[in-house]
């Protein structure tokens, strides 16, 4: 018995490679079936934009090669997928999944999206997973939850978009129901607006130099379109202004927006200026109850949160290690019964053969004496087997039985027969 993980992630493969390895949900079952045909006892495929990993139960020798073959086919340009990947076995494979689920292996340390992705991978692969991986993924999800509740690994805003949401949240509390005015209709404005919309912010207005482009984005986000010149008056009513135009100089000037801001009756206004060069004149940030943040500020918030999260790594790793040992104790317990059964069967065969041989030589013994000798052989075998059986069971309960089990299999040649 063993577990392995074979795959690539953002540390080992560039984006151009990772995107070719990414599996659509409809392709998962086909790839896992190929692994089962190669001799895998079960498999789960975790495929996100940052990783493609096959978790395999009882991987036969050919299974890792089958994984590399699947991935190499996806590269399709003669390059070997194995050059970008890794293979980890047993405890290290379990540790790897637990670290992934906890966000310790993520590009943005501690991000929580991965936990949903682990759950999706497990649900998508359930039919091919088998009981060991089923348990492994269930525990991985609870490890992720434990790390997030017992450490501060997931706290703070560790990316620029989440920093924008965090800053607005520090002003308004709940963002649901707040209104946003978007200046600019480029990709960055669209992405940041979607990020705010996902927090419940209503994008009511989109203003752009060209009206048609503003209209296209406004339709997507459910707002109305404006030209830039029409936007200034709406600084009186919006809660959040998100600016990301391609203008070469500041378009949001004190003269343009101060009169509208003066009508806000002290209500705070959060202006997020994501443009480089900046769209908003610094003087606007000096207005009463206006909170102006540019891209450097967002990155400073993100860097601060990332530093805080890094301090939590040792505590998170301790939880992962504890849980790996706990899983391994369960896994060792799962393996010990059939191995002990085989061990006893094999020794009993030896006992029976030797007894038969000796009884042939002692043909003069009465049936009663023969029964005594047979009884003696059973008792002797039990006496011999008792200490190693107890020691093995105790080691399994203590969480380090797997190594002993492997030794026992090797010493008595049980592996081959057990496998057979």
């Amino acid at each position: 018995m063993s577990i392995a993980v074979v795959g690539v992630n953002h540390r080992t493969a560039p984006l151009e490679v990772r995107e070719r390895f990414a599996h659509a949900p409809r392709d998962v079952a086909t790839s896992l079936e190929r692994l089962r045909s190669a001799g895998a006892g079960g498999g789960v495929l975790l495929s996100t934009c940052n990783r493609t990993e096959f978790y395999i139960a009882e991987p036969a020798e050919a299974v890792p090669e089958a994984v590399w073959a699947i991935l190499t086919e996806r590269l399709g340009d003669g390059r070997e997928a194995s050059a970008y990947g890794y293979l980890q076995r047993d405890r290290e494979a379990v540790r790897h999944l637990y670290r992934v689920s906890a966000g310790l292996d993520s590009m943005i340390l501690g991000e929580s999206q991965i936990q949903g992705q682990v759950r999706e991978a497990w649900e998508l692969s359930k039919a091919q997973a088998g009981p060991v991986l089923h348990r492994l993924f269930q525990t991985a999800l609870s490890v992720g939850a434990r790390v997030r509740s017992e450490t501060a690994l997931g706290t703070g805003a560790a990316s620029a978009p989440s920093a924008a949401v965090a800053l607005a949240g520090k002003i308004f509390g709940l963002l649901a129901g707040r209104t946003a005015l978007i200046l600019g209709a480029g990709d960055i404005a669209e992405l940041a607006a979607s990020c705010l919309a996902s927090e419940g912010v209503r994008v009511t207005l989109v203003a752009n130099r060209t009206y048609e482009r503003a209209q296209a984005i406004a339709e997507q986000l459910g707002g109305a379109a404006l030209t830039l010149d029409e936007a200034w008056d709406h600084f009186a009513s919006a809660d959040i202004v998100l600016s990301s135009t391609a203008a070469p100089h500041a378009v949001v000037t004190w003269e343009r927006v101060a009169p509208a801001i003066g009508r806000r009756r002290g209500r705070p206004l959060c202006i997020l200026d994501l443009a480089v060069p900046r769209d908003v004149e610094p003087a606007v940030g000096q207005l009463e109850n206006v909170f102006l943040y540019d891209i450097d500020d967002l990155q400073a918030v993100a860097a601060h949160a990332a530093a805080e999260r890094h301090r939590e790594i040792p505590a998170a790793e301790r939880i992962v290690s504890d849980e790996v040992e706990r899983f391994w104790a369960w896994y060792g317990g799962l393996a010990v019964v059939p191995v002990l059964k085989e061990f006893r069967r094999q020794l009993d065969q030896v006992r029976a053969a030797e007894l038969e041989r000796v009884l042939k030589r002692l043909a003069h013994l009465s049936p009663q004496d023969r029964a005594e000798v047979e009884q003696f052989s059973h008792a002797l075998l039990n006496k011999f087997l008792h200490p190693p059986t107890i020691a093995l069971k105790q080691a399994v309960q203590a969480g380090h039985g797997y190594g002993l089990l492997e030794s026992l299999k090797k010493l008595f040649g049980l592996e081959r027969q057990h496998g057979e």
Binding site: A152, K170, F172, R265, G266, R267, P268, N289
Partner: protein, 266 residues
């Protein structure tokens, strides 16, 4: 005496512990579980209720004790309802200090009010002290607001940014406590007038107390008026709250300096 002192000592310990937990995140320690940050002040308040129930609410020490009790309860409400645990940074030390001061001044039985007016008198003290506690909470939330405002305006993203509640939540808590505190205190004062006329043979008040008391009431009333009628919010409203509570505090301290003594609260 023991039935008064032991619950107060217990409350002092529990409030002290709650204060330490509230301040711990600012020392870089992990925030305490919510069950503890809510449970400790609640347990302290429960102990204190036992002690306060044995007191005659006359004199400085019993009033300080009741004020500490209300502050602890408001701390729990702020955290539970408004998700503003940072309030405990101020209410915690304040409640602890007030209980300690009450114990130092001596928590013994004072001059009991006349039998007929007992309920009236207790209601007067309860409402007045609750009003003061609410105004103190308004002051605290205004101070938290201004600190968080400065942090956000100056783009410093340190402990205050992370641990203080959002501005709008603080503004809301300030609004509620100010608007609830002012009429509560006013009603408490009116009950004192009624009690004096009905049970104590008329008002025996220094004219200076009337003048300065009215001044304080006008300052506080103005803070409420600009919030409710003029719809002030944010920084200006926070300054108005601070001015209102500062007026109450300064006038009280001036009276106590002019006529020291712990037998009467005012």
């Amino acid at each position: 005496m023991r039935v008064v002192l032991v619950p107060h000592l217990l409350a002092l310990g529990l409030y002290g512990l709650a204060t330490a937990l509230a301040l711990a995140p600012f020392a870089g320690l992990r925030p305490a579980p919510r069950a503890l940050t809510l449970g400790l002040p609640l347990a302290g308040a429960a102990a204190q209720v036992v002690g306060v129930a044995q007191l005659t609410p006359v004199g400085v020490a019993p009033v300080l004790s009741i004020l500490a009790l209300f502050l602890a309860l408001l701390q729990v409400v702020s955290e539970r309802v408004f998700r503003a645990p940072a309030v405990a940074m101020f209410t915690g030390p304040l409640a602890t200090g007030l209980v300690a001061l009450a114990l130092l001044l001596g928590l013994g039985p004072g001059d009991a009010p006349s039998a007929g007016g007992n309920a009236w008198f207790i209601l007067h003290v309860t409402l007045s002290v609750l009003g003061l506690a609410l105004l103190a909470l308004a002051f605290i939330t205004a101070a938290l607001y201004l600190l968080q405002f400065r942090e956000l305006k100056s783009k410093r993203f340190g402990a205050v940014f992370r641990l203080f509640p959002p501005l709008e939540r603080l503004d809301r808590l300030n609004h509620v406590s100010l608007v609830a505190g002012f009429p509560t205190l006013t009603l408490g004062v009116l009950l004192a007038v009624g009690y004096a006329v009905r049970y104590a043979g008329g008002m025996h008040v220094d004219p200076a107390q009337v003048v300065w008391g009215s001044f304080t009431w006008v300052v506080l009333g103005s803070a409420v008026w600009v919030r409710v009628v003029r719809r002030w919010a944010g920084r200006r409203a926070a300054f108005a709250s601070i001015a209102g509570f500062a007026a109450v505090l300064l006038v009280y301290l001036a009276f106590k300096l002019a006529a020291p003594g712990t037998q009467r609260f005012l």
